[in-house]
């Protein structure tokens, strides 16, 4: 049983690496919602400010810490960038 589970976990890791290498790694639902909210705000105001992201209708059901985690992840993955010289403002890449 133990071997079977460890084999399955290993296979899952192999497949996840393939997914990542092919650029098909999927975002979590929170990350998608935050990215869509930023894109929407960017179209309206040019940039997406943290306060507006937190208040956006796509992110209201997500907790504050989850939104900030999603922002960090999206920034790490190069999906968005911080606007220089303006605190707490984001742009999609």
């Amino acid at each position: 049983m133990q071997t079977r589970i460890s084999n399955l976990i290993d296979l899952k890791k192999v497949v996840q690496q393939l997914e990542k290498d092919l650029g098909l790694g999927s975002m979590s639902s929170h990350e998608k919602a935050v990215l869509l909210a930023i894109s929407d705000l960017q179209q309206l105001d040019g940039v997406a400010k943290t306060k507006a992201i937190l208040a956006h209708e796509l992110t209201t059901s997500i907790s504050r810490p989850s939104i900030f985690r999603a922002l960090n992840k999206l920034e790490e993955h190069g999906k968005l960038k911080r606007v220089e010289g303006s605190h707490g403002s984001y742009l999609t890449v």
Binding site: M1, T3, R4, N7, D10, L11, K12, K13, V14, V15, Q16, Q17, L18, E19, D21, L24, S26, S28, S29
Partner: protein
Amino acid sequence: MKNHVDHFVIVSIAFIVASSLTLGFVIPAQSLLSQYAIPEIGLIFLPHGIRVIAFHYLGWKAVLHMLPASYLFWALSNTSGSELDVLSPIVSMVACYIGFLGATVVVQKEDIGNKISTWKYFVLAGATSSFVNGLALSWLQFADTPLSALVGYVVGDTLGLAVCLVVLMYAFRLLRLSNELN
């Protein structure tokens, strides 16, 4: 003992599903697309993916686990018009394992394993085992080793492995999405 039975069941089911798809879809489709296609060689041979993954996780025991399903595939293929030699399932399985082992030894000796991802090692080992399998089967099936048959085996096996990995990727992705939805 229970572990062996479990492995045998899992590997057999996977091998039979992959073989059925190859026999019921790939081979008829390739015959439809080209009149020169050889019915004994599947150009996307999905069971090769199962073979490589089983060799990696179960070692030489995978050869024994997959033999019954392999013979089932042999019987079904011959019923549907192919003329596969009675020894082809054993020869193919052993040749594949030798090729896989060869690639694994080289990867370990040259320390390539740390430089490439495991799925790339799967493709490398899969292609090597497919080459040895192609040599053995062409010799067994066609008396000599025609280049077209050898290329057919290598292309079919390697593509089959790649498709298998992509299918697994989407299966895990689907599982992840359904977990997220629940």
